[in-house]
Symmetry: C2
Subunit: 407 residues, 2 copies
Amino acid sequence: MFFTKLFSINEVYKILEKEQKILDLEVVRLENAYKRICAKDIVSKLDSPPFDRAAMDGYAVKAEDTFQASEDNPVELKVIDRISAGSASNKKINSGEAIKVNTGAPLPPGANAVIMEEYVLEKNDDKILITKRVTPLENVSLKGEDIKRGDKVIKKGQILRSQELGALASAGYSKIEVYKRPKVNIIVTGDELVEPKESLKLGEIINSNKYIMLGMVKSTNAIPNVKHCNDNPTQLKEMLLEAKEKYDLIITTGGTAVSESDIVVDTVDEIGKVFFHGTAIQPGKAMAFGKIDGTPIFMLSGYPVAAMVQFDIFVRPYLLRMQGIDFEHQIVKRITKKKIISSLGRTTFVRGIADDKYVTPILSKGSGIIRSMVKANCYIVVDENVEGIYKGEECDVILFNSFTLGV
Amino acid sequence: MFFTKLFSINEVYKILEKEQKILDLEVVRLENAYKRICAKDIVSKLDSPPFDRAAMDGYAVKAEDTFQASEDNPVELKVIDRISAGSASNKKINSGEAIKVNTGAPLPPGANAVIMEEYVLEKNDDKILITKRVTPLENVSLKGEDIKRGDKVIKKGQILRSQELGALASAGYSKIEVYKRPKVNIIVTGDELVEPKESLKLGEIINSNKYIMLGMVKSTNAIPNVKHCNDNPTQLKEMLLEAKEKYDLIITTGGTAVSESDIVVDTVDEIGKVFFHGTAIQPGKAMAFGKIDGTPIFMLSGYPVAAMVQFDIFVRPYLLRMQGIDFEHQIVKRITKKKIISSLGRTTFVRGIADDKYVTPILSKGSGIIRSMVKANCYIVVDENVEGIYKGEECDVILFNSFTLGV
């Protein structure tokens, strides 16, 4: 029932930072590590490439032997061995000799360059004619030129995209220690909520928050479980007491305003601690944060758009930091193509459509208008001290794509 | 063995467009539809909200009854009913009457506005005093103001983010028809390849492409399966013949250059059709595309960075289009902080680190340097007719984040 003051965004962030929970670690096989978060700085066990190797198909030679070579004046060399990738020659090249190599094969001892096949004429089984000069190290990949043994290849907190997985493999790792994925219980409250169907009784509202929150939680790599709860404090209390044992984080939607039917915040206050109730953002004022025996709980609005804004601004950073990601919202500048109207005293998140230079605000009435989010690819962020932004002015934008954990 | 000419990017795109395969459809439950691709235009079965409803907790009234109300001159109304969200009143409000409503409750017949609780004094059980005037439709959400029955809510080819799932639920859908996810067989070729381990024999190379390609394929929502194959045409042929039956698409890495040990393109040519071999891109020249009995096969380079560029530029759009997404690369402009060196005659993809305004090219020697991809968040694209770009000039950039399928 309390809503004594609205907490500013920065006050909320300070509380969340103080109450941030970080998850334990687990070891996963590299093939299952895509988009997981590396838990430690990783130092390479190996050089990559592990040896000087041929970067082209051709003949390993002493570069000096080719310095006089040209099409008119080919140089003859003796082929003393032929090796493919995956095998090595134990023969050493002396002046006047060559070894046939495939791309990736170790450079034989004595050789310092590879001449491409197309500049070589095969005279007979063990004689070739070189028609072009090569310089030392030409067509050679040097040992460790990509990764040196002992190099730090991946940093703690780094998201493992495809290329990071490749670097870890090359560094000799088949398993990797990562942060656990948060298990999140979503409890959607509201007597009026029903599953999607073709016709509704008067008073029934479709539970769209269930599907929205499932998607939002998945987008952070967390593992969601969703339940519905009536506006019944006893039922809610039971669900919360079960959730705080089984899950890493709880999200509720609905029941966060200040009328007597808004039971969520009072119920959490009864069995845990509420750190604040009410934030100075628009949409999304009716939100609270608490803990029940150490399990964080975000109490979001029942209005879909308000709940999405609350999620993106507060829950998303919290869930990502739980997994060891040092997440901060990335603000970029765009020029608005239309006047933006905002609420003085509250940081306003206007849905917008941005390209690389401009943004068009989406005009919509309230925090129930989910189609404004369907059209949008960004939030325009208007400071609480600003009343609006004129057409043609620069404004702050958070692109939804900036929430991605890498591709 | 063939490599008769290098195909330009546009020539390759034309071939791929002609040979594009599109997957069949399937119906999934809405809770499993996150990031799937909608297969049809979806028209709402319902209005959302489904009825005029209270947007605030308070009292439903006739606005006209409050026009004279003020703190000094409160207007008395009779409370004839109390309803919460999820239920409705069958009573009709007449002049001088009010019904207590919670947010989300249907607006009772006769009422045309809601006055917030905080402007109401409760006199006794069935009498209230109104201290502020409300205008007609104040604090009312009108039926259909978000979505109207018959409105197109989601378009064919749209990626289902959280908000699209919410809109579909509100439109009355619990299931949705989407494109199937492509099943992709990745065949990594090379005798020299071994799994990650702490020490290597001379000639052995760690199979990093396995992990890189697993990640790349996952990033397109496709379902990967990965196998290793030696440089052995018989083994490869067997694997390909099995793969073309079981999978929607095949990706190979390695064996695409033109020496006799490069067996992949010849093998595909023997059992299927090769449409081109060799593209005018840098890195990534050694690539081919074919079909084996209608199953598309992308033959990528064995060099990790070359294979990643080939994937991002050609395979990624193909895999996304298979799922019904009308994907095009998004080119944005950035100012380069350093000189960019490129290859005349080939479209060059230089790895870069971009912010919202600038890009810094990553200098690296070859297409084996996976760390250049670890540092990068974009490609700088240099046209085949351009030899380089000076520091301070604008250049074309593809941000890796633009590959995301929405968050």
